[in-house]
């Protein structure tokens, strides 16, 4: 009878050990999976930050260039206005004289169809 108990005990012990090993393996798998997922998430996050940074850089560059363009357009416009002012000032007299000449140059005429 003692040998039977021993055998059964050994079996039981072996079963228990096997069950432990199996559950250990399962837990390890789950842990590994979770770890892999987390790492992947971290990588995605990193990539997204990178893209965001690039984008902000791009935007900043555009805004900056806009200021330059605005300044150059303004300078151009002011130059044109100045040049116009000078030109006008030099020809103004002449134009006014001509206008007044025409105002005073009156020829009373009868309409050609009058009967």
């Amino acid at each position: 009878m003692a040998s039977q108990t021993q055998g059964i005990q050994q079996l039981l012990a072996a079963e228990k050990k096997a069950a432990e090993k199996v559950s250990e393996a399962r837990k390890r798998k789950a842990r590994r999976l979770k770890q892999a997922k987390e790492e992947a998430q971290a990588e995605i996050e990193r990539y997204r930050q990178e893209r965001e940074r690039q984008f902000k850089e791009f935007e900043a560059k555009h805004m900056g260039s806009r200021e330059d363009v605005a300044a150059s357009i303004d300078a151009d416009t002011n130059q044109k206005i100045e040049a116009m002012k000078h030109h006008v000032a030099s020809n103004k007299e002449q134009v006014i004289k001509r206008l007044l000449e025409i105002v005073c140059d009156i020829k009373p005429e009868l309409h050609p169809n009058y009967r």
Partner: protein, 173 residues
């Protein structure tokens, strides 16, 4: 990923829109400056009209011609003349000559009266206004109306002499 691409495109587009808007605003400023120059020139010309009027002899001849022209336009037998209060003696002086001119050209007589109730404002340039048919027909031949009319017709010429030929224009006939 596409989110960022879209945003980048949006930024580009906005930049182009803003640039175009700025260019437009700049062009409008230049045009407005032009407009102001022309307006100030016409103002100055109007003021100078006053100087012409001061020379009595010249002004008298001018009045005569203005009257004759207006009479030949109105072609009525009974006419009322409106002028500045200060010009009344001058107008009375030139009246007979005008009537004579009209008679020569049309062979008809004109009956002219000076309006004693309404005068042209003394700050106006000078000249006459003719009324006929109980004030229903009116011909305004003042120096100011003449200047306005002439200025309107001469705007292209004024423009080219003040601002130079237009480089974008291809046909001038």
């Amino acid at each position: 990923m596409e989110y960022y691409e879209r945003k980048e495109k949006q930024v580009e587009l906005q930049k182009k829109i803003q640039q175009s808007n700025m260019l437009n605003a700049a062009r409008l400023r230049v045009l407005k400056a032009r407009e102001d120059h022309v307006a100030s020139l016409l103002e100055e010309a109007k003021r100078r009209l006053g100087d012409i009027v001061k020379d009595d002899n010249r002004y008298k001849k001018l009045l005569e011609v203005l009257m004759s022209q207006a009479l030949l336009q109105i072609l009525e037998a009974n006419v009322i003349v409106r002028c500045r209060q200060a010009d009344v003696p001058l107008v009375e002086d030139v009246l007979p000559a005008c009537v004579q001119t009209v008679k020569e050209k049309t062979g008809k007589d004109v009956n002219i009266k000076i309006d004693p109730d309404n005068y042209l404002s003394p700050t106006a340039g000078g000249g006459v206004e003719l009324l006929a048919q109980k004030g229903r027909i009116k011909i305004s031949n003042t120096l100011e109306t003449r200047l306005d009319m002439i200025a309107r017709q001469m705007v292209p010429e004024i423009r080219t002499s003040l601002f130079g030929q237009n480089t974008n224009r291809r046909f001038t006939d």
